[in-house]
């Protein structure tokens, strides 16, 4: 060992190469071994968010197998495009929301010549026949990174049932509060997305602690996180526009 010159370029390159190969193979092994389990966890979270947006926060209390079972019982998955046409042969869990989101222009309209796949979840009533809630995934950009959410509408396709939100990198304690039940519950209840026949969506306002009970298109904001709220507002508006053809076709 001591015969080697440890400061020669050859030794340094050789050592660096070896340790990189060792670390890289270790990491790829671990990542490969855990992939299946991580995928299951993400799938379960998707199911949980969908159920939670429609049925409320008691879904949080349920055990994991119970959530999967309830989802299988109550939720019908389908994929539509922005014209409201059902896309046969595409499974919802193969749709990468982030990739689909990239087909949008900055202002939220679909880029020319693109067609977008939109997952649609219909939550059925206890008997499993009639659709009680429509859940639409949304995707957007907050202050620092991507945000996403599941918007549940009641069967009139006007009243908001719930809006479950999540994010990648919003500021903890400020924008990251969109994941809190207390913030999400501001959307539940009596908020409407239509004013007459115009789509106006629901906006999260600047400032916190104000009463918006009498205003059907506004909810209380998050102090110190106005830009995240702007992102949430844009996300909701953009995706409601994409789902608009479907919504209108169902309302007739």
């Amino acid at each position: 060992m001591s015969k080697l010159n440890k400061n020669s370029n050859g030794y340094i390159f050789g050592f660096a190469f070896l340790i990189i190969v060792v670390c890289a193979s270790l990491l790829s092994t671990v990542s490969g071994a855990l992939y299946e389990k991580q995928y299951q966890e993400r799938e379960l979270e998707r199911k949980k968010f969908i159920l939670k947006s429609a049925l409320g926060s008691e879904v949080d209390e349920m055990e994991k197998p119970a959530i999967a079972e309830l989802y299988d019982q109550r939720v019908k998955e389908s994929v539509i495009n922005s014209k409201g046409e059902v896309q046969e042969g595409i499974a919802v869990n193969t749709i990468d929301l982030k990739k689909e989101y990239k087909k949008l222009e900055k202002n939220g309209s679909l880029k020319a010549g693109q067609s977008i796949n939109l997952p649609l979840y219909e939550v059925k009533d206890e008997s499993g026949n009639a659709t009680e809630y429509y859940v639409m995934p949304t995707y957007g950009f907050g202050l620092w990174d991507n945000i996403w959410g599941y918007l549940a509408l009641q069967k009139d396709l006007n009243t908001v049932q719930g809006f479950v939100l999540d994010h990648k990198g919003e500021t903890p304690g400020l924008g990251a509060r969109i994941t809190e039940d207390k913030v999400q519950q501001r959307y539940s209840g009596d908020k409407k997305i239509f004013e007459g026949s115009d789509l106006v969506a629901v906006r999260m306002m600047k400032g916190e602690g104000n009463d918006y009970a009498s205003k059907p298109h506004e909810v209380d904001g998050m102090s110190g996180a106005t830009l995240t709220a702007d992102g949430v507002n844009a996300m909701m508006r953009n995706y409601l526009n994409l789902y608009l053809s479907f919504i209108n076709s169902k309302k007739q």
Partner: protein
């Protein structure tokens, strides 16, 4: 066992340093109090302020740091004679980053909720000064066993500060402990404790308490 055999064994043990000699015990004990990485060396404070809102994520964070610290100290200590001096920092970083990536992957698979709560702070273990500090200051110059003890000591020294901070923050911030409500439904929650400012105050009080008790003061 005959006394003769016992005597031989004792000699054999004495030739090597006993596994838990006084010196080695100090490696574990010192960082817990007199040479604590957070309160005395003031390292790793960023994560101490950031991840201590709730006890459960804090416990996972402490375990993660302990794991990374132990295995990076062991790895660097075993490689200490072959690591080229000129790229030693990069090599240490590579070892630490690989271990952190493993921890992150495992958390995503087996503690998905917690990994989301810890978010970027798992990744930021890479830049935790405690880890690089121990590698530079200790593992590069010592054998694996003392390095292991040093890692255990410093990892626990990190935990012994973070857990009380998280205890008080969760108790006064959300009125709960380990997610169970203890102060009653009517408790409003203290916003300061929920923010890193609260962590700074609790940590400051802990440092004050510890220094008053140990009579420690900064050298001029």
């Amino acid at each position: 066992m005959s006394t003769e055999a016992q005597a031989i064994e004792e000699v054999a043990v004495k030739e090597k340093e006993p596994l838990l000699s006084k010196k080695n015990r100090k490696l574990v004990n010192n960082p817990l109090d007199a040479d604590n990485p957070i309160t005395v060396q003031v390292l790793g404070v960023c994560s101490a302020l950031a991840v201590t809102v709730k006890l459960v994520p804090t416990l996972y964070m402490c375990l993660s740091v302990l794991f990374v610290l132990i295995f990076s100290n062991l790895a660097v200590s075993m490689l200490r004679n072959v690591i080229p001096g000129r790229i030693r920092i990069i090599v240490q970083l590579l070892v630490v980053a690989s271990l952190v990536a493993i921890v992150d992957q495992v958390l995503q698979a087996y503690a998905y909720e917690v990994s989301k709560q810890l978010s970027v702070f798992v990744g930021l273990i890479i830049t935790n000064c405690i880890i690089m500090g121990r590698l530079e200051a200790f593992a590069l110059a010592n054998k694996p066993w003392p390095s292991f003890l040093d890692a255990v000591g410093n990892g626990l020294g990190y935990a012994v500060i973070l857990i009380p901070v998280a205890f008080f923050r969760e108790l006064f911030g959300s009125g709960s402990l380990l997610g169970f409500n203890v102060l009653g439904e009517g408790y409003q929650g203290n916003g300061v404790m929920m923010s890193p400012v609260g962590a700074c105050i609790v940590l400051g009080l802990l440092i004050w308490f510890q220094r008053a008790r140990n009579g420690y003061s900064e050298e001029a």
